[in-house]
């Protein structure tokens, strides 16, 4: 493949041929004896908005810093826009707009001055600079603070100034490291809206540990924990395929009859089944990932002449999934064991 041209390959998750804008292969980054990122691999196609998820300290920022050329990889390789991050760092940096986790911008410059400086630094031609800065400020919604000193604007505005900086040279790829960190709900909403708007003509890697946000803006998530890749795929699919759901049923019948009807259902984790007897018997249990026995259970209860008061399968959330594959794994097991006892 000629250097400098994005690779055309089979998309890893989409199942169709796509142009890979970010390709990470067996990437490892060590700081002395500590392994921050451990042989992770993933690819991001053109136009994708990918959420980069992981708890604090998972290795998200380190991975992003390798992708942006700030840190070299210890081993493995990474390409951005078809350029090797190690050997063609300058070309990589020309192709990306990067918003770091903490937006450290010069407090003694005015917002407009700072963005003009950054546009010049990023090679935006002089005749286009004014327009580029105006456009970036409009997209980030910061026109009203253009003449304010950066040091005098609020944290939320500063974050948006950082976003405008990432956008000013119209990069193909945006790498946003926790862009909503420390923002109030309104500001978070605004940033998410901007990211959704940008998704039309950018490839976006959006890192966060706030799951709802990732779910809101991303069509795909890459989950990293303790430096290792834990999952890669569409959020709903990942959740449905790997996290147990909760089944709840209340029916007018004997508790033993309800127990037998539920326990023999396909996918029910029998050890989690808990039945309460009474005028209306109730049962709760966990269902194996991918299983949906609600229809079958409804039919059985109907055939047995039991009036069903409640029958529901609570699908797991991305949050539960996240717990399950990161530190919360043990807690989820505890939940299951608690339900069983």
């Amino acid at each position: 493949m000629p250097s400098g041209a994005p690779a055309v390959t089979n998309g890893s998750q989409q199942g169709f041929a796509s142009v890979q804008m970010i390709r990470v292969s067996e990437l490892t980054k060590r700081f002395g004896p500590t392994t921050a990122v451990d042989r992770i691999s993933f690819e991001i196609g053109r136009g994708e908005v990918v959420g980069f998820l992981g708890p604090n300290g998972a290795g998200k920022t380190t991975t992003i810093r390798v992708l942006t050329g700030f840190h070299p990889a210890t081993s493995g390789s990474a390409e951005v826009a078809g350029f090797d991050v190690q050997k063609q760092s300058l070309e990589v940096r020309r192709s990306i707009g990067y918003l770091p986790q903490e937006v450290p911008i010069y407090p003694d410059l005015r917002v407009g001055e700072y963005l003009r400086y950054r546009a010049e630094l990023k090679g935006v031609p002089a005749r286009e600079r004014r327009g580029a800065v105006a456009r970036a400020m409009a997209k980030a919604g910061i026109e009203d603070v253009a003449r304010k000193l950066v040091g005098h604007v609020s944290h939320g505005y500063r974050q948006r100034v950082g976003l405008a900086d990432a956008l000013v040279a119209r990069p193909q790829i945006l790498i946003l490291d926790e862009p909503t960190s420390g923002l109030d709900p309104n500001q978070r909403r605004r940033i998410k809206q901007v990211v959704r708007e940008l998704a039309d003509d950018h490839t976006i890697l959006f890192s966060s540990h706030i799951l709802a946000e990732v779910q809101d803006v991303s069509s795909r998530v890459v989950v990293i924990h303790r430096g290792a890749l834990r999952a890669d795929g569409a959020p709903k699919q990942l959740v449905a395929d790997s996290t147990p759901a909760r089944l709840r049923v209340r029916a007018r019948c004997a508790g033993q009859a309800l127990r037998e009807a539920v326990a023999s259902l396909p996918g029910v984790l029998a050890e989690t089944l808990q039945v309460d007897d009474g005028e209306v018997a109730s049962a709760r249990c966990m269902v194996a990932p991918g299983g949906d026995p609600a229809t079958e259970l409804g039919d059985r209860l109907q055939r047995a002449g039991a009036a069903v008061h409640e029958l529901a399968v609570d699908l797991p959330t991305l949050e539960e999934y996240f717990y399950a594959i990161t530190d919360g794994r043990d807690e989820l097991r505890d939940d299951i064991e608690e339900a069983a006892t």
Binding site: F70, L90, R93, Y98, P100, P104, D108, Y117, E120, G162
Partner: protein, 255 residues
Amino acid sequence: MNGAVTTLKKELLSYAVSPVSWLIAVLFYLVRGFELASIAFEFAVFRADPNQFPSATYGAGSTFYMVLLVPGILTMRCFAEERRTGSIETLMTAPIRDFEVVLGKWFAASIFFAILWLPSVLVLHLLEYEPYFGADVAFGPVLSAYLGMFLLSGLLLAFGCFASSLTENVLLAAIMTMLFTGLLTQASRILTQYVGELRNDYYMRELLGKLDVYGNFSNWFARGLIDTSHVVFYLGGIGFFLFLTWTSLASRRQA
């Protein structure tokens, strides 16, 4: 080199809006002004040769303190502040080469230092008129002195950039530069004067003589004497410390 020019412009803007820069400028102009006035008064009282006036001014205390203190203060923020605030990340992930950043910051500090000095040329020019000296001041030694000052400050500012690239602590960066300047200006002189063995060794004496940067400035450039070996020494020193700064910055990517 567009990156260096962009960095230079931004750094000059930062100097222009920084209260520390203005404080240095005001203090320097005040002290320098009083010194020039008192030297002019002495020249008038003792009817000294007005042509010697420019050279005499470069031996004034403000020159020494300007050389000792200001390079450290001007360069302390160059990289240490960027590292402390984290803005080094946005700078180093922008499409700009590391050496362009180093050159831009060094040039900006040098230009600001030159801006501090240049108004004193106007003062010397004013002194040519009545009722001051009313004599033609020889501007050859003045130009030579300015060349020497810019070379000397360039060397110290290059070291200042290097010191600033080693730490996140701006104060420590300034102190390192001041110590280095103190060492350069005093150590070689003291060693040459008091350590007999060194004084007797020709090569050692020559080396220590070259290292006595302030002595070279006041004894040569300020008197209108330009020795190519001094110029080469200063330029070599500037190149050496800028190279070290670049290496230090590049090694941060390896961290």
